[in-house]
């Protein structure tokens, strides 16, 4: 109706609309990118955290070599001495994309340093995510809701948390691809277009190449289809969309070396295969239905359903039993059985990202969107078109997963934005509607003043919340999500802001002062950083593929010196790096992670390492005089606190993290290691393994000899030695 009315001025309206749209999109892009630049402004243009350092290193390798070398890259500088078949065990999407961008810029005469591309990668893609969210939401409701969703997506902290400048991680590109894939999927499911479903498959492939979280798509799309079939909404559009996507997508995903045959062997992917089978049967059933009478059809259907179900279930069990289908991967399993990880895979449970979420995190990450989110889902349910089923399934599944594992907040955020945008735009549809048929009395044509006032009040309050939302997002982004966690913000005594740069100081020391082939043992958290910043060989890193190897490092740190030295020597280790926050009050230090190291080591060697022995008699985890014997003797303890009681000058040391005071003599001397470097704030401490004693004594004896005075030595020597019989 409205359009007809303006048919004469149609082109003007369209022009104004397009210009408005373009302006809005430019603004959204600008907001998305600029809010992510806080980290560069507050700190510097630096790669953040841990995993990004590996991605950055891999990207550099890709840029320096060619794609084939990258694909077959055997990295001999990590996981020493096993090495890592890196090319076959990573998701190459991120690196190839940034390498492609790098090459593109060079082709057009803009040679940009690869580091800058990597740093600014995530903000750039955030803009595209916003656009994809717009297209997605447009399919769900209309372009008004779409614009809201895009704007939300651009600045919502839940997404910014993983995509600030410098956060060069798989998620930086994966969320964009996730939204693009879903957008095409909705279009495909709505229209049944083979083109759209092929595009879905292409972007699905891209997603598979970029992030392990692709399994979410692999399960969500079949779930969508499955629910629609159960609701009796099967049609040929769904058939062509799903089969096209599944066939192309699966074949394509198998081209990624790391994925390989998983799509037909792992239980994580079985749902998609099952639905693929089911939809064939349903299609056939539909065909039969059109041919025979409904009574006969019902009988046929029931019998065949029972047969198919039983065959399928039995088949799945036997295949799993005989090992043809891999059981669920640990991380996936821990989503369902929440205690599984704690008991079976401490390495998963030890990661803070895998902890359940307390309620404030939702508000912190999405502000008022979380209030609108349930209402949005509810309102969509009232309409319940095919595509709404998808959104609802997404929302329900993902809110469960996020509740279990905090890192999945990232995947929940887009759907929160979409649902909130739907809810908000529905409110504005009613209360921001100042067109004549809403505010004028239909019969008399008089202005309804009450209604106008109401509209102003209601929409005004919501605009106020929108305003608050922007403030909140900016505040959160600036204060919480912009720290590179390589450089830590702090304040000096006089209250001026200062940066704590101990990590880089220590890594740089390693790079400049140690042999190029030196092997550094550190807890796996620092593996990528040591590889990326110090360029030294590490034993374990953040790609935690080999639990045993991690347990070796855990055992070495938890054991007494002699045992630890032997173990480390076996692995040719030259330096040991520990992170100690006791002086500074940095709570993420190794002593606080120590129990996990012990647990992981205990999982492999229950006879040699026992968590219990690290608690004192009162069952407390202490580091002061009341620490247990095993604790006191452990290499981790000795290395962390070596010399700690001397720095204050009065023989005691105050551990600011654990709030305990160490007395002189609590920390036993190190015999097998010598301190090589300690950073300014003692955050990073490096120890060198001493050489074997040239005279064949064990190093404890040798150090005792060095420490002893002549008198003590004489006393010892005056007695006849008690020796074993010489053979």
């Amino acid at each position: 109706m409205v359009e007809k009315q303006f048919s004469k001025d149609n082109w003007v309206i369209q022009w104004v609309q397009s210009i408005l749209m373009i302006t809005i999109f430019i603004t959204i892009f600008g907001a998305a990118i600029s809010s992510r630049l806080f980290s560069v402004i507050k700190f510097e243009s630096i790669i953040h955290e841990f995993d990004p350092w590996f991605n950055f290193r891999a990207t550099k390798y890709l840029v320096e070599n060619n794609f084939k070398d990258f694909l077959n890259w055997f990295d001999d500088r990590t996981w020493y001495p096993l090495g890592r078949v890196t090319g076959g065990t990573l998701y190459p999407g991120l690196m190839t994309t940034s390498a492609a961008i790098w090459h593109l810029f060079r082709k057009i005469g803009l040679p940009i340093d690869i580091r800058n591309i990597c740093v600014l990668f995530a903000p750039g893609f955030a803009g595209f995510t916003a656009w994809a969210t717009y297209e997605f939401t447009k399919e769900i409701k209309d372009s008004r809701a779409g614009l809201f969703a895009a704007a939300f997506m651009a600045i919502v902290p839940g997404y910014i948390s993983r995509s600030v400048a410098g956060a060069y991680d798989n998620e930086a590109i994966a969320i964009t691809l996730l939204m693009v894939t879903f957008m095409f999927w909705i279009k495909a499911a709505k229209t049944g277009s083979i083109l759209y479903s092929a595009l879905t498959a292409v972007f699905y492939f891209y997603m598979v190449s970029a992030w392990g979280g692709y399994v979410f798509i692999t399960n969500l799309i079949p779930l969508h289809i499955f629910i629609l079939i159960l609701m009796g909404r099967y049609n040929n559009r769904l058939y062509s969309a799903y089969t096209t996507w599944y066939a192309i997508g699966t074949l394509a995903s198998m081209q990624i070396p790391f994925v390989g045959f998983l799509p037909i062997r792992s239980n994580d992917h079985m749902a998609a295969l099952g639905v693929f089978g089911l939809i064939q049967i349903v299609a056939f059933g539909n065909f039969v239905k059109s041919q025979v009478s409904s009574n006969k059809f019902r009988a046929i259907m029931i019998v065949s359903m029972i047969i198919i179900l039983s065959v399928g279930v039995i088949g799945l069990f036997t295949l799993t039993y005989f090992g043809f289908i891999a059981p669920w991967t640990g991380r996936f399993y821990s989503l369902w059985d929440t205690n599984y990880a704690k008991i079976h895979i401490p390495i998963i449970a030890s990661v803070s990202e895998h902890q359940p979420v307390a309620w404030p995190a939702f508000f912190f990450d999405t502000h008022f969107l979380i209030w609108l989110f349930p209402a949005g889902v509810f309102l969509l349910f009232l309409d319940l078109k095919d595509e709404h089923v998808f959104v609802i399934a997404y929302a329900v599944l993902c809110s469960y997963f996020t509740g279990v594992m905090i890192r999945l907040m990232l995947t929940l955020t887009p759907i929160i934005c979409v649902c909130a945008a739907v809810a908000l735009s529905k409110i504005f549809d009613i209360y921001l509607n100042f067109s004549d048929d809403s505010i004028r009395d239909k019969t008399t044509g008089q202005l309804k003043l009450g209604t106008i006032a109401t509209h102003f009040i209601v929409s005004g309050t919501f605009i106020f919340y929108l305003f608050l939302f922007v403030l909140h997002c900016t505040w959160v982004t600036r204060n919480a999500y912009s720290s590179p966690s390589v450089v830590l913000p702090s304040t000096t005594r006089s209250g001026e802001p200062a940066l704590i740069d101990d990590f880089r100081e220590a890594y740089y020391w390693l790079r400049m002062n140690t042999d190029e082939d030196a092997k550094v043992a550190a807890w796996w958290d620092y593996g990528y950083q040591i590889g990326g910043m110090a360029d030294r060989t590490t034993l374990v890193d953040n790609n935690t593929w080999n639990n045993t190897h991690i347990a070796i490092v855990g055992k070495a740190l938890a054991s007494p010196e002699e045992k630890s030295y032997k173990l480390l020597k076996e692995h040719d280790v030259d330096y040991v790096l520990v992170v100690f926050g006791g002086l500074l009050g940095f709570s993420g230090d190794d002593l606080n992670k120590f129990l996990w190291m012990i647990r992981i080591a205990e999982g492999i060697w229950p006879d040699e390492v026992s968590e219990h022995s690290f608690y004192n008699d009162n069952n407390d985890y202490r580091v002061d005089s009341t620490a247990s014997k095993a604790m006191r003797e452990s290499v981790m303890y000795k290395m962390s606190f070596q010399g700690f009681t001397d720095i204050m000058g009065h023989g005691t040391g105050q551990d600011k993290v654990r709030g305990q005071t160490l007395q002189e003599g609590d920390v036993l001397p190190l015999d097998y290691f010598e301190e090589a470097f300690t950073s300014e704030n003692w955050l990073v401490r490096l120890y060198k393994l001493k050489d074997l004693d040239a005279e064949g004594r064990d190093l404890h004896e040798a150090s005792e000899f060095e420490r002893a005075n002549t008198k003590a030595l004489k006393r010892k020597a005056s007695k006849k030695p008690d020796l074993d019989l010489r053979i």
Partner: protein, 352 residues
């Protein structure tokens, strides 16, 4: 009645204790004493400690030091009291005279010291240097007052407590035929039966209504939305991490929120926040989709259209604002540096 009965009981006990004190306590005498005591647990106090403890005994004696009085605020003591009673009951059920069936030479009796008033502690507490309750002391046969062995039990939950007590007593006394019979909880059984019956009845009665509810989109939407609300209000945190229900601050007041902690919560926080989410949802849904049903409902009313188009939206948006203010002030507790608090609701309530 009850009072006089207990007075008589005490009198009997004291009398018998006085008589026995001269000779030492034989098993049968102790057993008699136990059977006369409430719940077969002999109450130990400063008056009878000499007679009961400082004499030659033939059996083992386990003494529980506890404080069940609510003023003492020992939650575990209160929880454990009933378990201890059942534990002792179980022992006397199998061994009416306190004598082990396997090894007739050994017997076991249970005493209790209950701290009623913190201000005037019994001397026993000081004498045995009890620093925390619940705590146990075991006296061996033929020993006097100073021949004892202190032990504690793990206090995680009922099962752990009982098992720990069982193993500790078994290893200390070498009496192995101790068993714990779970008390059967008839109330929950009755409750289940009753609920099942009611539910079945209601379903049968209102079949059609339930059928329509089951098939309506609104109910399904409400179900799924509630699930989502449950998830985003930290329910999974509660099931996985098992936090305390609520806390107590230094002044002893009850705290509903862990202050300054974004990564932790009490169980009750989930409930409060979920309630707020539900309110948000109801307000929003009514704002958007409430006009039509309301119109149906108010058909024929005089001011129907005013109520629908003016009163309802304004009230709801005001309610929404109040909820927002509530939510942000709760959040302010969790993150004290949070700057965007809408209104200080708490200040309204505090002003008295």
């Amino acid at each position: 009645m009850k009072l006089s009965a207990s007075v008589i009981q005490y009198a009997v006990i004291c009398l018998s204790v006085l008589t026995y004190s001269v000779y030492g306590l034989s098993n049968s005498e102790l057993a008699k004493l136990a059977l006369e005591s409430p719940n077969h647990i002999i109450q130990l106090n400063d008056q009878n400690k000499e007679q009961l403890l400082n004499t030659q005994r033939e059996g083992y004696v386990v003494v529980l030091f506890t404080a069940t009085d609510p003023k003492v605020k020992c939650k575990i003591c209160r929880e454990f009291e009933s378990e201890y009673i059942h534990f002792v009951k179980s022992w006397y059920k199998d061994h009416p005279n306190g004598q082990s069936n396997e090894d007739k030479s050994k017997s076991l009796f249970f005493f209790e010291v209950n701290i009623r008033n913190v201000r005037s502690m019994p001397d026993l507490i000081k004498y045995y240097k009890i620093e925390d309750v619940p705590r146990f002391i075991l006296f061996r046969p033929d020993g006097l007052m100073d021949d004892f062995e202190k032990f504690t039990i793990q206090t995680t939950n009922t099962e752990v407590r009982i098992n720990d007590l069982l193993t500790k007593i078994k290893t200390a006394t070498q009496i192995y035929d101790i068993k714990y019979y779970e008390p059967t909880d008839y109330s929950s059984l009755l409750w289940t039966v009753f609920m099942t019956f009611t539910v079945v009845f209601i379903i049968k009665r209102y079949r059609n209504f339930i059928y329509s509810v089951f098939h309506s989109n609104v109910s399904k939407a409400a179900l799924l939305t509630s699930f989502i609300i449950l998830m985003i209000s930290g329910y999974m945190f509660n099931t996985i991490k098992n936090p305390r229900y609520a806390g107590v601050n230094k002044e002893g007041d009850i705290m509903y929120f862990i202050p300054g902690q974004l990564q932790a919560q009490f169980a009750i926080e989930s409930q409060i926040v979920a309630l707020l989410y539900v309110s948000f949802t109801i307000v929003l849904v009514t704002l958007v989709a409430g006009q039509k049903p309301l119109k149906e409902f108010l058909k024929g009313e005089k001011h129907a259209s005013k109520i629908i188009t003016v009163l309802m939206p304004i009230t709801l948006s005001f309610a929404f604002y109040v909820f927002v203010a509530g939510f942000t002030s709760i959040y302010k507790v969790k993150q004290s540096s949070y700057p965007f608090q809408v209104a200080k609701l708490s200040s309204l309530f505090r002003r008295k």
